[in-house]
Protein backbone atom coordinates (compact mmCIF):
# COMPACT_ATOMS: atom_id res chain seq x y z
CA UNK A 1 0.00 0.00 0.00
CA UNK A 2 1.29 3.40 -0.94
CA UNK A 3 0.52 6.39 1.26
CA UNK A 4 0.14 9.67 -0.57
CA UNK A 5 1.19 12.45 1.78
CA UNK A 6 0.90 16.21 1.47
CA UNK A 7 4.31 17.19 0.02
CA UNK A 8 6.20 20.29 1.03
CA UNK A 9 5.81 22.91 -1.67
CA UNK A 10 8.82 24.98 -0.69
CA UNK A 11 10.80 26.05 2.34
CA UNK A 12 8.14 28.51 3.37
CA UNK A 13 5.35 25.96 3.57
CA UNK A 14 4.57 23.70 6.52
CA UNK A 15 0.85 23.34 5.92
CA UNK A 16 -1.63 23.67 3.11
CA UNK A 17 -5.36 23.87 2.68
CA UNK A 18 -6.65 20.95 0.67
CA UNK A 19 -9.11 22.18 -1.97
CA UNK A 20 -10.14 19.30 -4.17
CA UNK A 21 -9.32 15.88 -5.55
CA UNK A 22 -8.55 15.32 -9.21
CA UNK A 23 -8.79 11.56 -8.74
CA UNK A 24 -11.31 9.03 -7.44
CA UNK A 25 -10.93 5.54 -6.05
CA UNK A 26 -10.10 3.05 -8.79
CA UNK A 27 -8.23 5.57 -10.98
CA UNK A 28 -4.85 4.52 -12.35
CA UNK A 29 -2.17 7.12 -11.68
CA UNK A 30 1.40 7.44 -12.84
CA UNK A 31 4.37 9.61 -12.02
CA UNK A 32 3.64 13.29 -12.60
CA UNK A 33 -0.16 13.05 -12.65
CA UNK A 34 -1.99 15.87 -10.93
CA UNK A 35 -4.03 14.32 -8.14
CA UNK A 36 -5.10 17.19 -5.90
CA UNK A 37 -5.28 20.96 -5.61
CA UNK A 38 -3.83 22.51 -2.46
CA UNK A 39 -3.87 26.17 -1.52
CA UNK A 40 -0.63 27.57 -0.09
CA UNK A 41 0.03 31.12 0.99
CA UNK A 42 1.30 31.81 -2.51
CA UNK A 43 -0.93 30.00 -4.97
CA UNK A 44 -3.40 27.21 -5.55
CA UNK A 45 -1.02 24.42 -6.49
CA UNK A 46 -1.73 21.37 -8.62
CA UNK A 47 -0.14 18.58 -6.58
CA UNK A 48 1.48 15.76 -8.53
CA UNK A 49 2.06 12.21 -7.43
CA UNK A 50 5.40 10.40 -7.82
CA UNK A 51 4.18 6.82 -7.53
CA UNK A 52 2.42 4.52 -9.89
CA UNK A 53 -0.66 2.70 -8.68
CA UNK A 54 -4.42 2.53 -8.31
CA UNK A 55 -6.24 4.98 -6.08
CA UNK A 56 -7.67 3.06 -3.12
CA UNK A 57 -8.98 5.44 -0.49
CA UNK A 58 -9.30 9.22 -0.40
CA UNK A 59 -8.74 10.29 3.19
CA UNK A 60 -8.36 14.07 3.11
CA UNK A 61 -11.55 16.13 3.06
CA UNK A 62 -11.75 19.29 0.93
CA UNK A 63 -11.52 22.53 2.89
CA UNK A 64 -9.27 21.12 5.59
CA UNK A 65 -5.89 22.63 6.42
CA UNK A 66 -3.24 20.02 7.08
CA UNK A 67 0.43 19.72 7.85
CA UNK A 68 3.04 18.66 5.33
CA UNK A 69 3.41 14.87 5.63
CA UNK A 70 -0.24 14.16 6.46
CA UNK A 71 -1.52 11.07 4.67
CA UNK A 72 -4.10 12.28 2.15
CA UNK A 73 -4.88 9.08 0.27
CA UNK A 74 -3.80 5.49 -0.11
CA UNK A 75 -3.02 3.68 -3.33
CA UNK A 76 -2.55 0.08 -4.30
CA UNK A 77 0.89 -0.61 -5.70
CA UNK A 78 0.89 -2.33 -9.11
CA UNK A 79 -0.16 -5.94 -8.54
CA UNK A 80 -1.41 -5.32 -4.99
CA UNK A 81 -4.94 -6.47 -4.08
CA UNK A 82 -7.39 -4.54 -1.88
CA UNK A 83 -7.26 -7.47 0.56
CA UNK A 84 -3.50 -7.08 0.94
CA UNK A 85 -3.94 -3.36 1.51
CA UNK A 86 -6.59 -3.96 4.17
CA UNK A 87 -4.29 -6.45 5.88
CA UNK A 88 -1.46 -3.94 5.80
CA UNK A 89 -3.76 -1.24 7.14
CA UNK A 90 -4.65 -3.43 10.11
CA UNK A 91 -1.01 -3.71 11.03
CA UNK A 92 -0.78 0.06 11.29
CA UNK A 93 -4.33 1.24 11.80
CA UNK A 94 -3.40 4.07 14.12
CA UNK A 95 -0.92 5.62 11.72
CA UNK A 96 -3.44 6.57 9.07
CA UNK A 97 -6.34 7.51 11.29
CA UNK A 98 -4.40 9.44 13.92
CA UNK A 99 -2.24 11.48 11.60
CA UNK A 100 -5.32 12.86 9.88
CA UNK A 101 -7.30 13.53 13.00
CA UNK A 102 -4.44 14.98 14.93
CA UNK A 103 -2.93 17.00 12.18
CA UNK A 104 -5.85 18.14 10.12
CA UNK A 105 -7.02 21.46 11.46
CA UNK A 106 -10.50 22.30 10.23
CA UNK A 107 -10.71 25.80 8.89
CA UNK A 108 -12.97 27.79 11.14
CA UNK A 109 -12.83 31.14 9.40
CA UNK A 110 -15.29 30.24 6.66
CA UNK A 111 -17.60 33.11 5.80
CA UNK A 112 -21.25 33.51 6.72
CA UNK A 113 -23.49 31.71 4.20
CA UNK A 114 -21.90 28.33 4.84
CA UNK A 115 -23.67 25.94 7.15
CA UNK A 116 -21.19 24.77 9.82
CA UNK A 117 -19.71 21.43 8.90
CA UNK A 118 -20.66 21.82 5.25
CA UNK A 119 -17.78 22.37 2.86
CA UNK A 120 -17.88 24.64 -0.13
CA UNK A 121 -17.26 23.26 -3.55
CA UNK A 122 -15.60 25.76 -5.84
CA UNK A 123 -14.66 24.89 -9.40
CA UNK A 124 -10.97 25.58 -10.18
CA UNK A 125 -11.83 28.09 -12.89
CA UNK A 126 -14.12 29.91 -10.46
CA UNK A 127 -11.39 29.91 -7.83
CA UNK A 128 -8.88 31.35 -10.26
CA UNK A 129 -11.31 34.02 -11.44
CA UNK A 130 -12.17 34.81 -7.82
CA UNK A 131 -8.48 35.36 -7.07
CA UNK A 132 -8.19 37.65 -10.08
CA UNK A 133 -11.23 39.63 -9.06
CA UNK A 134 -10.27 39.68 -5.40
CA UNK A 135 -13.46 37.85 -4.41
CA UNK A 136 -13.43 35.40 -1.51
CA UNK A 137 -14.66 32.27 -3.30
CA UNK A 138 -15.61 30.69 0.04
CA UNK A 139 -18.20 33.35 0.76
CA UNK A 140 -19.91 33.35 -2.64
CA UNK A 141 -23.36 31.76 -2.85
CA UNK A 142 -23.08 28.72 -5.13
CA UNK A 143 -25.69 27.76 -7.73
CA UNK A 144 -23.90 24.74 -9.23
CA UNK A 145 -24.40 21.05 -8.35
CA UNK A 146 -24.33 20.50 -4.56
CA UNK A 147 -24.19 24.26 -4.12
CA UNK A 148 -20.85 24.45 -5.94
CA UNK A 149 -19.55 27.93 -6.68
CA UNK A 150 -19.33 28.42 -10.44
CA UNK A 151 -17.60 30.97 -12.60
CA UNK A 152 -20.87 32.87 -13.05
CA UNK A 153 -21.41 32.99 -9.28
CA UNK A 154 -17.99 34.54 -8.80
CA UNK A 155 -18.50 37.11 -11.53
CA UNK A 156 -21.92 38.01 -10.20
CA UNK A 157 -20.49 38.43 -6.70
CA UNK A 158 -17.66 40.55 -8.08
CA UNK A 159 -20.11 42.81 -9.92
CA UNK A 160 -22.22 43.17 -6.78
CA UNK A 161 -19.26 44.27 -4.67
CA UNK A 162 -17.76 46.56 -7.27
CA UNK A 163 -18.56 49.60 -5.17
CA UNK A 164 -16.77 48.04 -2.21
CA UNK A 165 -13.23 49.05 -1.12
CA UNK A 166 -10.52 48.67 -3.76
CA UNK A 167 -8.59 45.92 -1.98
CA UNK A 168 -10.91 43.28 -0.51
CA UNK A 169 -10.16 41.82 2.88
CA UNK A 170 -9.51 38.33 1.45
CA UNK A 171 -6.81 39.72 -0.78
CA UNK A 172 -5.24 41.67 2.09
CA UNK A 173 -5.15 38.49 4.16
CA UNK A 174 -3.54 36.65 1.27
CA UNK A 175 -0.92 39.38 0.94
CA UNK A 176 -0.18 39.36 4.65
CA UNK A 177 0.11 35.58 4.54
CA UNK A 178 2.49 35.69 1.61
CA UNK A 179 4.58 38.34 3.36
CA UNK A 180 4.84 36.07 6.40
CA UNK A 181 5.83 33.10 4.22
CA UNK A 182 8.57 35.11 2.50
CA UNK A 183 9.73 36.42 5.87
CA UNK A 184 9.98 32.90 7.27
CA UNK A 185 11.97 31.53 4.33
CA UNK A 186 14.30 34.51 4.09
CA UNK A 187 14.91 34.63 7.87
CA UNK A 188 15.76 30.94 7.79
CA UNK A 189 18.13 31.58 4.89
CA UNK A 190 19.96 34.39 6.66
CA UNK A 191 20.05 32.43 9.93
CA UNK A 192 21.32 29.15 8.49
CA UNK A 193 23.20 29.89 5.29
CA UNK A 194 26.62 31.57 5.47
CA UNK A 195 26.31 33.54 2.24
CA UNK A 196 29.21 34.85 0.23
CA UNK A 197 28.75 37.26 -2.65
CA UNK A 198 30.61 37.83 -5.91
CA UNK A 199 29.92 39.89 -8.98
CA UNK A 200 31.22 40.06 -12.49
CA UNK A 201 30.61 42.37 -15.43
CA UNK A 202 29.58 40.37 -18.47
CA UNK A 203 29.92 41.94 -21.94
CA UNK A 204 26.83 41.26 -24.03
CA UNK A 205 27.95 42.58 -27.40
CA UNK A 206 27.79 39.16 -29.07
CA UNK A 207 24.63 38.13 -27.29
CA UNK A 208 22.81 41.36 -28.21
CA UNK A 209 23.79 41.21 -31.89
CA UNK A 210 22.96 37.53 -32.10
CA UNK A 211 19.59 38.08 -30.44
CA UNK A 212 18.76 41.01 -32.75
CA UNK A 213 19.49 38.93 -35.83
CA UNK A 214 17.60 35.97 -34.43
CA UNK A 215 14.54 38.01 -33.44
CA UNK A 216 14.47 39.80 -36.80
CA UNK A 217 13.86 36.37 -38.35
CA UNK A 218 11.22 35.41 -35.84
CA UNK A 219 7.58 36.42 -35.58
CA UNK A 220 6.43 38.35 -32.54
CA UNK A 221 5.20 35.26 -30.75
CA UNK A 222 8.51 33.39 -31.14
CA UNK A 223 10.77 36.19 -30.02
CA UNK A 224 13.44 35.41 -27.43
CA UNK A 225 14.34 37.65 -24.49
CA UNK A 226 17.83 38.03 -23.06
CA UNK A 227 16.44 36.43 -19.89
CA UNK A 228 16.28 33.06 -21.70
CA UNK A 229 20.00 33.31 -22.54
CA UNK A 230 20.74 34.07 -18.88
CA UNK A 231 18.79 31.02 -17.69
CA UNK A 232 20.48 28.70 -20.16
CA UNK A 233 23.99 29.97 -19.41
CA UNK A 234 23.45 29.48 -15.68
CA UNK A 235 22.15 25.94 -16.20
CA UNK A 236 25.08 24.98 -18.43
CA UNK A 237 27.55 26.47 -15.95
CA UNK A 238 25.90 24.35 -13.24
CA UNK A 239 26.86 21.23 -15.17
CA UNK A 240 30.51 22.24 -14.91
CA UNK A 241 30.17 23.44 -11.29
CA UNK A 242 27.71 21.03 -9.67
CA UNK A 243 28.42 22.44 -6.21
CA UNK A 244 26.18 25.41 -7.10
CA UNK A 245 23.24 23.23 -8.05
CA UNK A 246 21.39 21.15 -5.48
CA UNK A 247 20.02 21.13 -1.97
CA UNK A 248 21.62 21.32 1.48
CA UNK A 249 19.65 19.06 3.80
CA UNK A 250 20.31 17.33 7.09
CA UNK A 251 23.84 18.65 7.35
CA UNK A 252 24.99 17.66 3.90
CA UNK A 253 24.87 18.78 0.29
CA UNK A 254 23.01 16.73 -2.30
CA UNK A 255 23.94 17.76 -5.85
CA UNK A 256 20.96 18.07 -8.19
CA UNK A 257 20.52 15.27 -10.73
CA UNK A 258 19.32 17.85 -13.24
CA UNK A 259 19.24 21.66 -13.31
CA UNK A 260 15.80 22.96 -12.32
CA UNK A 261 16.11 26.73 -12.37
CA UNK A 262 13.82 28.65 -10.04
CA UNK A 263 12.81 31.90 -11.69
CA UNK A 264 12.04 34.78 -9.35
CA UNK A 265 8.75 36.27 -10.51
CA UNK A 266 7.27 39.32 -8.84
CA UNK A 267 3.51 39.29 -8.51
CA UNK A 268 1.57 42.39 -9.45
CA UNK A 269 -0.37 42.49 -6.20
CA UNK A 270 2.92 42.29 -4.29
CA UNK A 271 5.09 39.41 -3.22
CA UNK A 272 7.38 37.03 -4.97
CA UNK A 273 7.39 33.46 -6.15
CA UNK A 274 10.26 31.42 -7.63
CA UNK A 275 8.91 28.31 -9.36
CA UNK A 276 11.15 26.06 -11.44
CA UNK A 277 11.66 25.48 -15.10
CA UNK A 278 12.78 21.86 -15.29
CA UNK A 279 15.88 20.47 -17.03
CA UNK A 280 16.98 23.88 -18.31
CA UNK A 281 20.40 22.57 -19.38
CA UNK A 282 18.72 20.33 -21.97
CA UNK A 283 16.27 22.81 -23.45
CA UNK A 284 16.58 24.98 -26.56
CA UNK A 285 16.23 28.75 -26.18
CA UNK A 286 12.92 28.61 -28.05
CA UNK A 287 11.63 25.98 -25.65
CA UNK A 288 12.94 27.92 -22.64
CA UNK A 289 11.24 31.07 -23.83
CA UNK A 290 7.92 29.24 -24.16
CA UNK A 291 8.35 27.70 -20.72
CA UNK A 292 9.25 31.06 -19.21
CA UNK A 293 6.26 32.83 -20.78
CA UNK A 294 3.95 30.08 -19.60
CA UNK A 295 5.45 30.02 -16.10
CA UNK A 296 5.13 33.78 -15.60
CA UNK A 297 1.55 33.68 -16.82
CA UNK A 298 0.59 30.82 -14.53
CA UNK A 299 2.49 32.20 -11.53
CA UNK A 300 0.56 35.45 -11.85
CA UNK A 301 -2.73 33.59 -12.29
CA UNK A 302 -1.92 31.53 -9.19
CA UNK A 303 -1.83 28.19 -10.98
CA UNK A 304 1.37 26.22 -10.49
CA UNK A 305 2.32 22.57 -10.19
CA UNK A 306 3.76 21.09 -7.00
CA UNK A 307 7.01 20.02 -8.70
CA UNK A 308 7.56 23.59 -9.90
CA UNK A 309 7.18 24.86 -6.35
CA UNK A 310 9.27 22.28 -4.55
CA UNK A 311 12.16 21.27 -6.72
CA UNK A 312 14.25 24.22 -7.97
CA UNK A 313 17.93 23.40 -7.51
CA UNK A 314 19.19 26.98 -8.05
CA UNK A 315 17.44 30.33 -8.46
CA UNK A 316 17.93 33.12 -10.99
CA UNK A 317 16.67 36.62 -10.34
CA UNK A 318 16.56 39.23 -13.03
CA UNK A 319 15.95 42.67 -11.57
CA UNK A 320 17.52 44.53 -14.45
CA UNK A 321 14.14 45.43 -15.88
CA UNK A 322 13.51 47.54 -12.82
CA UNK A 323 16.63 49.49 -13.64
CA UNK A 324 19.08 48.40 -10.96
CA UNK A 325 22.67 47.79 -11.92
CA UNK A 326 23.16 44.68 -9.82
CA UNK A 327 21.33 42.48 -7.35
CA UNK A 328 22.70 40.45 -4.44
CA UNK A 329 20.17 37.81 -3.64
CA UNK A 330 19.14 35.85 -0.59
CA UNK A 331 19.45 32.11 -1.21
CA UNK A 332 16.17 30.23 -1.12
CA UNK A 333 16.73 27.33 1.29
CA UNK A 334 17.53 24.48 0.95
CA UNK A 335 19.18 25.62 -2.31
CA UNK A 336 22.81 26.69 -2.17
CA UNK A 337 23.14 29.43 -4.77
CA UNK A 338 21.33 32.30 -6.43
CA UNK A 339 22.47 34.12 -9.56
CA UNK A 340 21.32 37.70 -10.09
CA UNK A 341 21.33 39.77 -13.26
CA UNK A 342 21.07 43.53 -13.27
CA UNK A 343 20.24 45.96 -16.05
CA UNK A 344 21.62 45.43 -19.53
CA UNK A 345 23.15 48.82 -20.32
CA UNK A 346 25.63 50.40 -22.69
CA UNK A 347 28.94 50.77 -20.91
CA UNK A 348 32.39 52.00 -21.78
CA UNK A 349 34.54 48.87 -21.79
CA UNK A 350 38.12 48.19 -22.77
CA UNK A 351 38.04 45.69 -25.63
CA UNK A 352 41.30 44.53 -27.21
CA UNK A 353 43.19 47.56 -25.95
CA UNK A 354 40.62 50.11 -27.12
CA UNK A 355 37.70 51.85 -25.46
CA UNK A 356 34.36 50.66 -26.80
CA UNK A 357 30.73 51.31 -25.90
CA UNK A 358 29.05 47.92 -25.60
CA UNK A 359 26.03 46.44 -23.84
CA UNK A 360 26.94 44.67 -20.61
CA UNK A 361 25.30 43.29 -17.51
CA UNK A 362 26.48 42.71 -13.96
CA UNK A 363 26.00 39.08 -12.97
CA UNK A 364 26.20 38.29 -9.28
CA UNK A 365 26.35 35.16 -7.21
CA UNK A 366 25.16 34.54 -3.68
CA UNK A 367 26.38 31.09 -2.66
CA UNK A 368 26.49 28.86 0.41
CA UNK A 369 29.89 28.75 2.11
CA UNK A 370 29.09 25.38 3.65
CA UNK A 371 29.20 23.91 0.16
CA UNK A 372 31.59 26.03 -1.89
CA UNK A 373 34.25 28.71 -1.55
CA UNK A 374 34.73 32.02 -3.30
CA UNK A 375 37.27 30.51 -5.65
CA UNK A 376 34.72 28.02 -7.03
CA UNK A 377 32.09 30.76 -7.14
CA UNK A 378 34.42 32.94 -9.18
CA UNK A 379 35.04 30.13 -11.67
CA UNK A 380 31.31 29.55 -11.91
CA UNK A 381 30.61 33.21 -12.72
CA UNK A 382 33.48 33.23 -15.22
CA UNK A 383 31.90 30.21 -16.91
CA UNK A 384 28.55 32.06 -17.20
CA UNK A 385 30.44 34.98 -18.71
CA UNK A 386 32.21 32.70 -21.18
CA UNK A 387 28.98 31.01 -22.23
CA UNK A 388 27.26 34.33 -22.86
CA UNK A 389 30.05 35.29 -25.29
CA UNK A 390 28.95 32.38 -27.51
CA UNK A 391 25.19 32.80 -27.74
CA UNK A 392 24.95 30.51 -30.76
CA UNK A 393 26.04 27.59 -28.56
CA UNK A 394 23.30 28.15 -25.98
Amino acid sequence: MIEFKLPSLGADMDKGKFLEWRIKPGDQVKRGDVVAVVDTSKAAVDVEIWNEGTVYELIAEPGVTMRVGTVMATLLAPGETPEAAEAEKRTRPAAVAVSVQAEAVPVTAVAAPVVPGERRRVSPVARRRAAELGVDAESVAGTGPHGAVTLEDVERAAAATKAAPAVPAAQLDKQAEMRRAIAAAMSRSKREIPHYYLSERVPLQNATLWLQAENARRGLTERVLMAALFLKSVALACETYPDMNGLYRDGKFEPGASVHVGVAISLRQGGLIAPAIHDVQKKSLTQLMQDLTDLVKRARAGSLRSSEMSDPTITVTNLGDQGVESVFGVIYPPQVALVGFGRVAELACVVEGGLRIIPAVTASLAADHRVSDGHRGALFLAEIRRLLQQPETL
Binding site: L220, T221, R268, T293
Partner: protein, 81 residues
Protein backbone atom coordinates in the same frame (compact mmCIF):
# COMPACT_ATOMS: atom_id res chain seq x y z
CA UNK B 1 -9.61 52.15 -37.94
CA UNK B 2 -9.79 55.40 -35.98
CA UNK B 3 -7.24 56.44 -33.38
CA UNK B 4 -9.97 56.20 -30.77
CA UNK B 5 -10.65 52.54 -31.66
CA UNK B 6 -6.94 51.76 -31.54
CA UNK B 7 -6.67 53.48 -28.21
CA UNK B 8 -9.45 51.30 -26.79
CA UNK B 9 -7.67 48.16 -27.99
CA UNK B 10 -4.30 49.31 -26.64
CA UNK B 11 -5.78 50.01 -23.22
CA UNK B 12 -7.66 46.71 -23.13
CA UNK B 13 -4.45 44.84 -24.00
CA UNK B 14 -2.57 46.75 -21.33
CA UNK B 15 -5.23 45.95 -18.75
CA UNK B 16 -4.90 42.26 -19.60
CA UNK B 17 -1.30 42.48 -18.40
CA UNK B 18 -1.60 45.06 -15.65
CA UNK B 19 -5.18 44.82 -14.35
CA UNK B 20 -4.52 47.40 -11.64
CA UNK B 21 -4.01 50.37 -13.98
CA UNK B 22 -6.50 53.21 -14.11
CA UNK B 23 -6.80 54.94 -17.43
CA UNK B 24 -7.14 58.30 -15.73
CA UNK B 25 -3.73 57.85 -14.07
CA UNK B 26 -1.96 57.30 -17.38
CA UNK B 27 -0.14 60.28 -18.87
CA UNK B 28 -0.29 59.64 -22.64
CA UNK B 29 2.87 61.64 -23.28
CA UNK B 30 5.04 59.92 -20.66
CA UNK B 31 6.95 56.64 -21.06
CA UNK B 32 4.46 53.83 -20.71
CA UNK B 33 6.81 51.26 -19.19
CA UNK B 34 7.76 53.59 -16.35
CA UNK B 35 4.15 54.35 -15.51
CA UNK B 36 2.82 50.82 -15.69
CA UNK B 37 5.85 48.89 -14.37
CA UNK B 38 6.15 46.54 -17.31
CA UNK B 39 9.18 44.26 -17.36
CA UNK B 40 10.53 42.90 -20.64
CA UNK B 41 8.27 39.84 -20.43
CA UNK B 42 5.19 42.04 -19.85
CA UNK B 43 6.25 44.27 -22.71
CA UNK B 44 6.60 41.33 -25.09
CA UNK B 45 3.19 40.03 -23.99
CA UNK B 46 1.73 43.49 -24.57
CA UNK B 47 3.07 43.53 -28.13
CA UNK B 48 1.94 39.95 -28.75
CA UNK B 49 -1.53 41.00 -27.56
CA UNK B 50 -1.58 43.95 -29.97
CA UNK B 51 -0.34 41.70 -32.75
CA UNK B 52 -3.16 39.23 -32.12
CA UNK B 53 -5.88 41.85 -31.90
CA UNK B 54 -4.76 44.08 -34.77
CA UNK B 55 -2.88 41.61 -37.01
CA UNK B 56 0.16 43.88 -37.20
CA UNK B 57 3.78 42.78 -37.22
CA UNK B 58 6.01 44.81 -34.90
CA UNK B 59 9.70 44.24 -35.66
CA UNK B 60 12.07 44.51 -32.71
CA UNK B 61 13.84 47.37 -34.46
CA UNK B 62 10.66 49.44 -34.02
CA UNK B 63 10.53 49.04 -30.23
CA UNK B 64 12.31 52.34 -29.74
CA UNK B 65 9.44 54.14 -31.50
CA UNK B 66 7.01 52.69 -28.97
CA UNK B 67 7.52 54.69 -25.82
CA UNK B 68 4.39 56.55 -24.76
CA UNK B 69 0.72 55.72 -25.16
CA UNK B 70 0.51 58.44 -27.84
CA UNK B 71 3.42 57.09 -29.87
CA UNK B 72 2.12 53.51 -29.63
CA UNK B 73 -1.27 54.64 -30.97
CA UNK B 74 0.34 56.70 -33.75
CA UNK B 75 2.56 53.78 -34.75
CA UNK B 76 -0.35 51.35 -34.87
CA UNK B 77 -2.59 53.82 -36.74
CA UNK B 78 -0.01 54.08 -39.48
CA UNK B 79 0.28 50.26 -39.62
CA UNK B 80 -3.48 49.66 -39.64
CA UNK B 81 -4.41 51.82 -42.65
Amino acid sequence: MTNEEIRTIVLATLKGIAPEIEESDLRPDRPLRDQVDLDSMDWLNFLVGLHQRLQVEIPEADYRKLTTLDTVIAYLAQKCV
